[in-house]
């Protein structure tokens, strides 16, 4: 079992309400229980083929994917439901009850993040934390203090193991 909760040193934004560090098995269960989860995937997955594989495995569990940046280039024709959207727009729309979602089926309740630049995602999460009631879950290599739940700061190889365990628990 990978412990992803040890290092929660903060490097970017600051606030009193902070993410709860979470282990992969618990994170997997949170997603399993979500009514309408969304996996938001950033372009950083393109730096590592293994991250692309893990992304596809998560999506194959039936979770729709919002592909931000140019991550969509690795996710097309893979038998998953992935659509391109800009992450700043997405975060804005997520907080709007009138938005129909990427598929017109309505809004989401639990948002999962993978493959983003640390500083960029932290800003996106800051908006969601302060202005929406959404549950956000960061399964990144870095502790994302503005998420509801987050892995801690991890080395790349530990991160990949953690993702495997996460996938097994969905």
């Amino acid at each position: 079992m990978v412990d992803t909760t040890k290092n929660t040193q903060i490097y970017s934004t600051w606030g009193r309400k902070m993410a709860k560090p979470v282990n992969p098995n618990v994170a997997g269960k949170v997603i399993s229980k979500a009514k309408r989860p969304l996996l938001v995937v950033g372009s950083e997955i393109l730096m590592d083929e293994k991250l692309v594989e893990k992304t596809i495995s998560i999506a194959k569990k039936g979770i729709p994917v919002a592909a931000t940046g140019h991550s969509i280039t690795a996710l097309m024709n893979k038998g998953i439901d992935a659509k391109y959207i800009n992450v700043h727009s997405l975060a804005t729309f997520l907080g709007d009850a009138k938005w129909g979602g990427l598929d017109g089926q309505g809004s989401y309740d639990t948002i999962l993040f993978l493959g983003h630049k640390k500083y960029y995602l932290d800003q996106v999460l800051s908006g969601l934390k302060n202005f929406t009631d959404l549950k956000t879950l960061a399964i990144e290599r870095h502790f994302m203090q503005n998420a509801t739940l987050s892995f801690g700061n991890l080395r790349p190889e530990v991160h990949l193991d953690a993702l495997d365990e996460f996938i097994d628990n969905i």
């Binding site: 040193q9 490097y11 970017s12 934004t13 600051w14 606030g15 009193r16 309400k17 950033g42 372009s43 931000t68 940046g69 140019h70 969509i72 280039t73 097309m76 659509k83 391109y84 800009n86 992450v87 700043h88 727009s89 975060a91 804005t92 729309f93 709007d96 009138k98 938005w99 129909g100 983003h116 630049k117 640390k118 500083y119 960029y120 800003q123 996106v124 800051s126 908006g127 934390k129 302060n130 202005f131 870095h142 700061n153 080395r155």
Partner: protein, 803 residues
């Protein structure tokens, strides 16, 4: 209204008493009347004068806040935790506080430009007098931002003083609203942000037109000379004088001294940041060749200092690292500060004899000097450089670690990851250290271009490993090859150029203007800029560039060994690449849009900001890109563009500006305007989709640029061209047709000819549109009509029968 004119007059009975009449209420209107110019409803607008216009923009483009800090510590009631939009002790909530924070940044940026403007104007009036005519090239509309905002049509340097008075007064009013217990509504902070941005463009314009008029800088010249750029173009065997900053006033005295004393071949004069750009514009308007070289952007500052190459450093203002003196001291490089904004605790030597200053600094009695007298500066800086070069040679200054040291330093690393976690881009430093142990330094070389030379890794390392110096030493070969060319800043786009190209811009047959501005805080190195500009230029967009972006663009060459400045001409025509100049030249980008409205469309410009902004919003397909924006100035520049309806995309680091303006394409009611012919409502395409947003990568950015150049006024040919680029760029960089392409189709003639049939099939099959296949016409489906004579406007009073 009074009949007393501005100026000096004496009262006979009161001998020796002179009264100066500076401004008279209604003076702008009176002068305009005498000149036969009409003045619009808002000359010199106060904070509330354009509020209605701002509200219109903000109702479509909603502020999106992403706090960097969830607390407020502005006053002693605090710290207040505002998480979740809670209120602080003074009653302000998170939204309003974030808007207030943004306003503070915007007016800080505007104050930096305007402070620069006031300084250089004062300096130039001292040299040339108030009556010195403004001369910016073959234009009648000399100062489009100034005229649209203030109603003043400046003709002389003296006229610009009143413009600066206005800007400064308004900035003070805006600053006052930051105080605790002032504005409480986010929306009104937002309006103030737009006001501050607008003022910024006036302040920048004053700075640049004053220096263009007096300093022999290129005047709307497409043939402005090419300038050497890059760390590799500095001949370090000669004495090297490096200047850093943004205000070229004092540096011109140095340049004159070097020329007058025949020192040009005996030493190197090179610059970092916008002072460098303006040095290369100095005295080049009559075919003169540039008298200085450009090293590069802020991201090269620490690298250049730590290379030990400079013999003397002169700094002026803005974007100068706070540790220049400390860093320089370590390498026995004297530092001269020349502007009250940066004095580094140095003794004021302005009134001292140049020789005494040279003696004191060259004997290291003092590490540097503050010299505010530019004649003294002009002599001291070059003479000290010549002297220091010999002294430093004899001292055998060792700046960077040797190759042998690199290996040893790598072994000191304990792989704690502190550096990587603190690095703003989380660069893979540990991998480089790992390879370095085996004598492989290629991974340090890989870091060189991506590293913005902030030095945070050095500060973080528990083993005191000089990481940045290691990167620089390992990259010496790359650095030697860093040689490029940049076209010197040409200043404004001239009136005749606007007359020629305006129609193509408004109809969309020139697909758009991409304005690449801002700083060097890139997410992934400098080459991204080159890729973006080259792609858009190939597609016939006009690329306008300035400041740090203009420098970095010149660093790369194509397979034929040409930089983009050599490859593409610099006229204001489709497929041209224009460097307008330094940071303050950004005002010429908004100025161009204002000129299209004023000259091509003959809209009244003086004091008529709203109508001009409305015209630009609906008709001019321009998008700003500040891919490496880091500064407060970049946020004020963007806000000034935004008030004119010009959207701006910043790179991912720009998310730390903590606020964006993003539209909702799915909210149909947001995408409607009036047709000024009869005041009826007309639907418009959801473009631009935002006024300020971020993109994650340039692959995402490129299709965004094409899409957000679409405007309601496009004719069929124009829409077809824009749509083609949007679809092609999405396919090329995102691998698929954009999901929303069909929303921009009004008739079959908006579709690219070669793909028309296929696209019609998709429209029928996927979107249920009705097609007449015999005539290949769309019968039903589009949500808007194609009508080139429609007059889209957001402002009801501009509709027929409304006024």
């Amino acid at each position: 209204m009074s009949d007393i004119p501005n100026g000096l007059f004496s009262i006979d009975e009161l001998e020796n008493v002179q009264i100066t009449i500076g401004k008279i209420v209604g003076a702008i209107e009176q002068k305009a009347k005498e000149e036969g110019v009409e003045v619009g409803p808002t000359p010199k607008p106060g904070i509330s004068a354009l509020r209605d216009w701002d509200y219109k923009l903000l109702s479509r483009y909603k502020p999106v806040y992403t706090p960097v800090c969830d607390q407020c510590c502005y006053c002693t009631f605090g710290k207040c935790d505002l998480t979740g939009n809670k209120e602080g002790a003074c009653g302000i909530n998170m939204e309003a506080h974030q808007a207030r924070e943004t306003l503070l940044r915007v007016i800080t940026g505007a104050a930096a430009h305007s402070g620069h403007g006031r300084h250089i104007l004062h300096h130039l009036i001292g040299l040339y007098g108030r009556d010195k005519p403004i001369d910016v090239g073959p234009s009648n509309l000399l100062a489009p931002n100034t005229q649209a905002v203030t109603g003043i049509r400046p003709e002389t340097l003296g006229d610009l003083e009143e413009v600066m008075d206005y800007v400064e007064e308004q900035l003070t009013q805006l600053l006052a609203t930051i105080h605790a217990g002032q504005e409480g509504a986010a929306i009104d902070f937002e309006s103030k942000i737009l006001h501050g941005g607008m003022l910024d463009h006036v302040g920048m314009e004053v700075s640049d037109i004053a220096q263009i008029s007096c300093m022999g800088m290129p005047k709307s010249d497409p043939e402005a000379p090419l300038v050497e750029i890059g760390m590799g173009c500095i001949d370090s065997s000669k004495p090297v004088l490096v200047v850093i900053g943004h205000n070229v006033a004092g540096v011109t005295n140095i340049m004159d001294y070097i020329q007058d004393h025949g020192l040009e071949d005996k030493m190197e004069l090179a610059g970092l940041c916008c002072t460098a750009i303006d040095m290369t514009r100095y005295q080049t308007d009559r075919g003169g060749k540039p008298h200085a070289k450009v090293i590069g952007t802020l991201a090269k500052e620490l690298k250049m200092i730590r290379s030990g190459v400079p013999d003397v450093i002169v700094v002026d203002e803005q974007c100068v690292r706070a540790d220049v003196l400390d860093e320089a001291k370590k390498l026995s490089i004297p530092v001269i500060t020349t502007n009250e904004k940066i004095m580094y605790g140095l003794r004021n030597r302005s009134a001292d004899r140049p020789q005494d200053i040279i003696d004191d600094l060259s004997s290291f009695k003092e590490p540097g000097a503050l010299i505010l007298d530019f004649d003294v500066l002009g002599q001291v800086a070059p003479e000290l450089t010549l002297k220091m070069s010999k002294i430093r040679d004899e001292m055998g200054i060792k700046a960077l670690p040797s190759d042998e040291d690199l290996k040893e330093l790598s072994t000191k690393c304990v792989m704690c990851a502190a550096c990587e976690m603190d690095c703003p881009d989380n660069l893979p430093i540990m991998e480089a250290m790992k390879a370095g142990v085996d004598g492989d330094f290629s991974k340090f070389e890989y870091l060189h271009d991506k590293c913005i030379a902030c030095g945070r890794c050095d500060q973080a390392c528990p083993k005191d490993i000089p990481i940045l110096n290691m990167i620089e030493q390992a990259s010496q070969k790359l650095i030697r090859e860093e040689k490029g060319l940049m076209r010197a800043g040409r200043g404004q786009i001239s009136d005749p150029e606007i007359r020629e190209e305006g129609v193509n811009l408004v109809l969309g047959t020139t697909p758009g203007i991409i304005a690449m501005v801002g700083c060097s805080n890139y997410p992934d190195g400098t080459k991204d800029l080159y890729r973006v500009a080259d792609e858009m230029l190939k597609r016939n967009y006009i690329v306008v560039i300035s400041g740090c972006s203009a420098m970095d663009l010149g660093m790369y060459k194509d397979e034929d060994g040409e930089t983009l400045y050599e490859k593409y001409p610099a006229k204001f025509l489709a497929g041209n690449l224009i460097n307008v100049g330094s940071c303050v030249s950004n005002s010429h980008i908004t100025g161009t849009a204002i000129k299209v409205a004023a000259i091509f469309a003959q809209r009244q410009v003086s004091g008529n900001y709203e109508e001009i902004a409305d015209y630009i919003t609906n008709r001019i397909g321009a998008v700003g890109v500040a891919w490496g924006a880091y500064s407060q100035k970049a946020s004020s520049i963007a806000s000034g563009c935004n008030r004119l309806g010009i959207p701006v995309v910043v790179g991912p680091h720009g998310s730390k500006y903590r606020r964006a303006l993003i539209g909702k394409p799915y909210n149909e009611e947001d995408w409607k305007v009036y047709d000024a012919r009869d005041g009826s409502e007309m639907p418009i395409p959801s473009s631009p989709e935002f006024l300020l947003t971020t993109a994650e990568s340039i692959e995402e950015l490129l299709p965004m640029l094409a899409k957000n150049c679409i405007r309601p006024s496009d004719n069929n040919m124009g829409r077809m061209i824009k749509l083609t680029h949007y679809m092609e760029l999405s396919q090329k960089y995102l691998g698929h047709m954009p999901a929303d392409w069909y929303k921009f189709v009004r008739t079959e003639t908006d579709l690219p000819l070669a793909k028309r049939e296929d696209l019609l099939k998709i429209l029928e099959k996927d979107h249920g549109w009705e097609i007449d296949w015999k005539r290949k016409k769309i019968l039903s489906g589009p949500s808007m009509k194609s009508d080139v004579s429609a007059q889209p406007t957001n402002v009801k009073r501009l509709c027929k029968g409304e006024c």
